[in-house]
């Protein structure tokens, strides 16, 4: 019998019950992260049925999606958008009613849900973690099974601490060799998605493996796992190692003393067996990955920075061809033109993909003693209050503001345009976020996904590249 993958092991350890007829399992959830946008209807559902939250202490709430990224100290009264304020108020009321820990807007511990969980040590190896947000895959960087769920499932987890789930298939992403100098986890992720396509991982949990993955920092692993959903996989996962344990140790919710020792002994067992069975294996040579940017309106429409915009006329797959034609029209790009040198009007450095301290340090090394190009509006939005404080303690905020960047308060910001940070129609943006869908950052806005290093360079040069 074949051995087990890491996903198999975490799954097996969390099955409460499996329906013998349908194969549907009841999976226990160790950590439920919640935010203001995908929970009001779930709490209303509980109320209508007079149900309680089964394990409020296994639930953590933040406000991130529609919080403004300035003047947060003014509190909810300072939120000018009535609908956003209403949602934020509903979250405050719901968490208070059910005794759920909550970091409200303005609290130093608040921030983007996928930055806060790891930062607080709530995210740990071997856990099952869900959240009403597709980028929950981020937490897989710690060897946790983590994925997004819908609001009906949020309600189900609140009421039962379990999820009805069907097992996914196992996909191995084997990354051999070493990433070249200046090539980051973001480049690797975009490259991978351009290879497998945006539906390549559908129905699978992706495990990232191999020497290039082991070498990544924890922040890099989070960036990579974060983008698993853009390759169609609900979850991405990386086996935990010493780096993982070091990252967690001493954080507020990390196990302490004897419990820590016991946890680590368990965490050390969390890896796929050498003879594990994979449904699908994708091989990537790390040396093949170049600095990568997207040219279209799907994350799979990515290309090396050194390349030219693809020509739909040369595409055989009719679906890809049609999508490329539509995307080039929307993005106002010409086939065959070099992508480097394309002018941008906006730069966004932030989001659950790339707003951690490591990202900001990298940006600072590039923009120090330079100026944001004339005509470019560039903003840096730290992932949490703690990231912001750390950056300020290191003097990074000064580097940014002196270069002409806006140094904002934490939140999802312009990743999804649910708050005041949006693109105007036709504006082109170098963005470290995760989706370049039509209208994602604002109606008619044109998004090029890239690493923090490339976005920083775009801000200084005024063009991609």
């Amino acid at each position: 019998m074949a051995g087990k993958t890491l996903y198999d092991k975490i799954w097996d350890a969390h099955v409460v019950h499996t329906d013998p007829e349908t194969g549907e399992a009841l999976l226990y959830i160790d950590l439920h992260l919640i935010h203001e946008v995908t929970t009001p209807q779930a709490f209303a559902g509980l109320k209508a049925e007079r149900r309680k939250v089964r394990r409020p202490e296994l639930t953590l709430a933040v406000a991130d999606h529609n919080t403004p990224t300035e003047n947060q100290s003014a509190g909810l009264e300072g939120v000018t958008d009535d609908a956003a304020r209403n949602q934020l108020t509903a979250l405050s009321r719901n968490v208070a009613e059910h005794g759920i820990e909550f970091f409200p807007m303005g609290d130093i511990n608040n921030g983007i849900v996928h930055v806060v969980g790891p930062e607080q040590g709530r995210t740990q190896p071997g856990m099952t973690i869900v959240c009403g947000d597709s980028h929950t895959s981020t937490h897989g960087a710690f060897g946790a099974l983590a994925h997004g769920i819908g609001t009906s499932e949020v309600e189900h987890v609140l009421a039962t601490q379990t999820l009805r789930a069907r097992k996914s298939k196992n996909m191995a992403i084997e990354v051999t060799g070493e990433l070249r100098e200046g090539v980051t986890a973001k480049d690797l992720a975009l490259h991978l998605i351009s290879v497998i396509g945006t539906a390549g991982g559908t129905g699978h949990v992706m495990e990232y493996r191999g020497p290039a993955i082991e070498k990544l920092s924890i922040e890099g692993r989070m960036t990579l796992c974060n983008l698993s959903i853009e390759g169609g996989a609900r979850a991405g996962i990386i086996a935990p190692d010493e780096k993982t344990f070091d990252y967690i140790k001493g954080r507020p919710s990390a196990p302490k003393g004897a419990a820590w020792e016991m946890a680590v002994r368990h965490w050390e067992t969390l890896k796929s067996d050498p003879d594990a069975g994979w449904d699908h294996v994708v091989d990537i040579r790390a040396e093949d990955v170049e600095p990568t940017v997207t040219w279209g309106t799907s994350p799979e429409q990515a290309m090396p920075l050194s390349g030219t915009v693809p020509d739909p006329a040369e595409m055989r797959d009719p679906a890809k061809k049609a999508a490329a034609e539509r995307a080039l029209h929307y993005m106002d790009l010409k086939p065959g033109a070099p992508i480097a040198g394309t002018p941008v009007q906006r730069v966004f450095i932030g989001s659950c993909t790339n707003s951690r301290i490591e990202d900001l340090r990298e940006v600072a090394t590039i923009v120090e003693n330079s100026k944001v190009s004339e005509g470019v509006r560039a903003m840096i939005v730290p992932g949490s209050g703690l990231v912001r404080a750390q950056a300020e303690a290191e003097g990074l905020d000064k580097v940014f503001t002196e270069a002409g960047f806006e140094w904002r308060e934490p939140g999802c910001s312009m990743c999804l345009g649910m708050n005041p940070d949006t693109l105007a129609p036709g504006e082109r943006c170098a963005s470290t976020s995760n989706r370049n869908f039509e209208g994602r950052q604002g109606r008619g806005g044109r998004t090029h996904l890239m690493s923090p290093a490339l976005a920083a360079r775009a801000a200084i040069n005024g063009v991609i590249g």
Binding site: T38, E57, Q124, G150, A319
Partner: protein, 210 residues
């Protein structure tokens, strides 16, 4: 949740330049400005907002659901990887509010697919060529399809019968419109037993929260 048994309705094909659109993402199904609600109802106004509305806010007469023949369609036919992107359940809520309870496509993104079943929407997966053929028959208000979940058959306006697969467990809950949470809570003892096992096997998960 409302049960899904049979549906007799017109169908609307979602096309771009004559081809069923692939990778229709949830931002396209319902853009972010409509997510700030605390209700499940009323979201049809945001359904495909940027496809159905011109930049000046007026309805785009070319968009399929703006055409009189299709505006009451209960079935949507689309291309590959329908519903990719965000986990927002506002996407199926918006479809439901529009009266669409069945989506036919060659493939679906996982989270959207799952969210459909939680809302009494039947996602049917069929090969692209069949989806295309169905789309070609979807000629408007007198061209009704019947979707019979019990028999797992689509009857086209031409009278042709097309079989489809569906997971048995999901079929049962759709047919009966079951309340997942209520059903899970009947197994509360099993959950409590699991929690006791978890406490002894992984005690650090219980002790340090917060």
């Amino acid at each position: 949740m409302k049960a899904f048994t049979t549906l007799t309705s017109t169908a609307a094909p979602l096309t771009h330049q004559g081809r069923l659109m692939a990778n229709v993402d949830t931002d396209m199904i319902i853009p972010k400005q409509f997510l700030k609600t605390t209700e499940r109802e009323g979201l049809s106004q945001g359904l495909f907002y940027e496809l159905k509305t011109r930049a000046d806010g007026s309805p785009d007469p070319d968009f399929v659901l703006n055409q009189p023949a299709y505006q009451n369609a209960g079935i949507l036919i689309a291309g590959e990887n329908f519903g990719c992107g965000s986990s927002r359940e506002h996407a199926p809520w918006a479809l439901l509010d529009q009266g669409i309870t069945c989506v036919i496509a060659p493939s679906f993104a996982d989270i959207f697919h799952n969210n459909c079943y939680k809302n009494g929407i039947l996602p049917i997966q069929l090969p692209f060529e069949i989806c295309e053929a169905l789309g070609n028959q979807a000629g408007g208000s007198n061209h009704k399809f019947t979707v019979d979940l019990e028999r797992q058959i689509i009857t086209t306006p031409d009278g042709e019968e097309i079989a489809f697969d569906v997971d048995e467990g999901r079929k049962a809950s759709l047919l009966e419109g079951l309340d997942d949470i209520g059903m899970t809570l009947t197994a509360e003892d099993t959950i409590s037993q699991y929690e006791r096992r978890r406490q002894s096997a992984m005690p650090w998960l219980e002790t340090e929260a917060g």
